[in-house]
């Protein structure tokens, strides 16, 4: 299946979403990312047993601290998706981009405010 996904995202691979720390998300936004979508494995199928649950809790904590700081927490989202689920994967990305478009660019973005939507996309590396 060769599905196209929007080109204005950047995919960052990580061995497991459990590797992601709160400070990574904070730095991404501080550095101007318009949105961060964390794609973890489906619940119950983490190769490292609970990495995706840890990621979920960290994402929730980050959303809280972002909203405390007066920043739209909707710019950070986590989804759970199987490595072979190409179609829903593309849907999730489109959906996220739609959310970001409605919110507009990251207000912290120092560059031209009208610059195109840039999403940092963090995807869990597919397990063999």
């Amino acid at each position: 299946m060769r599905l196209q996904y929007p080109t204005n995202i950047r995919i960052i691979r990580t061995p497991c979403t459990g590797r992601l720390e709160v400070e990574y998300f904070m730095k991404a936004f501080e550095n101007g990312a318009d949105g961060v979508l964390v794609a973890g494995c489906e619940e119950g199928s983490c190769h490292f047993i609970e990495g995706n649950f840890m990621a979920k809790r960290r994402v929730n904590y980050t959303r809280r601290i972002l909203s405390e700081a007066g920043f739209e927490m909707e710019r950070l989202r986590m989804i759970n998706i199987g490595a072979a689920d190409a179609r829903p994967f593309v849907e999730h990305i489109k959906n996220m981009i739609e959310t970001i478009r409605n919110l507009g660019p990251n207000p912290l973005h120092e560059a031209d405010a009208s610059s195109s939507v840039l999403d940092a996309m963090i995807e869990q590396e597919t397990q063999p």
């Binding site: 400070e23 904070m26 601290i65 207000p107």
Partner: protein, 222 residues
């Protein structure tokens, strides 16, 4: 260890509003272990403050630094240059750390970024619980090593109060009854006899009542 938790970002913004160059100073000891004020929390809180500053049109310029121990002059020295080049310090140390820094830099506002909560331990991942109130006259020897001051909601020395349900405290149903724990522990170590004695009222003089507590060790003075 001393257990603390961070103040909210709006609280910190309130404290820091009007200041420009801010040093967020972490401490590498207790508050690092309880995940409140170590290097990582310094990074997270600094990011949040930068984001808040830009979102609210403030002009925070934030520098991050974590030293080994804020309550120790030897280590405070390491922060000297960073403290000098900033207008204020937001300390993520415990209350003692904040005051140690403030005493050292008389002309620099030093603010507490954490709420220092208690002396406790990590019970399970993500959960810290109080174990000692530093009462100054420890009675753990009489209670099988379970502190009746901190672990019984009524601080009873001659418990239990009779209100516990199952093994839960009637005041804090989310916590085990301290006296149930004392009973089980004394039973386990064969010292149930201790419960037959009526313990007289505790001497609270060495506790907070008499003002700032000081320990003087003549053998260590110069």
């Amino acid at each position: 260890m001393i257990v603390a938790e961070r103040k909210t970002i709006p609280e910190l913004v309130d404290i820091l509003e009007g200041h420009k160059k801010i040093l967020v100073l972490g401490c590498g000891t207790c508050v690092t272990v309880c995940l409140a004020g170590g290097e990582r929390e310094v990074s997270i809180i600094s990011s949040a403050l930068r984001i808040a500053s830009r979102a609210k049109n403030l002009s925070f310029e934030i520098e991050e630094l974590t030293i080994e121990r804020q309550c120790d002059n030897v280590f405070i020295e390491e922060a000297a240059k960073a403290v000098e080049r900033n207008d204020v310090v937001l300390s993520l140390g415990c209350g003692a750390g904040v005051q140690a820094i403030a005493e050292r830099y008389l002309e620099k506002p030093v603010y507490a970024g954490l709420n220092t909560a208690f002396i406790g331990i990590l019970e399970e991942r993500g959960i810290w619980a109080e174990k000692c109130a530093a009462c100054g006259a420890c009675v753990l020897d009489q209670y099988g090593g379970i502190c009746p001051i901190t672990r019984c909601a009524k601080h009873m020395l001659n418990g239990p109060c009779g209100g516990s349900r199952e093994d839960r405290c009637e005041v804090r149903p989310d916590r085990p009854c301290g006296w149930q724990l004392i009973y089980q522990r004394l039973k386990g170590i064969g010292q149930l006899d201790r419960l037959k004695r009526i313990v007289p009222p505790k001497n609270w003089a060495p506790s907070l009542g008499g003002g700032c507590r000081v320990i003087v060790r003549e053998d260590h003075r110069i």
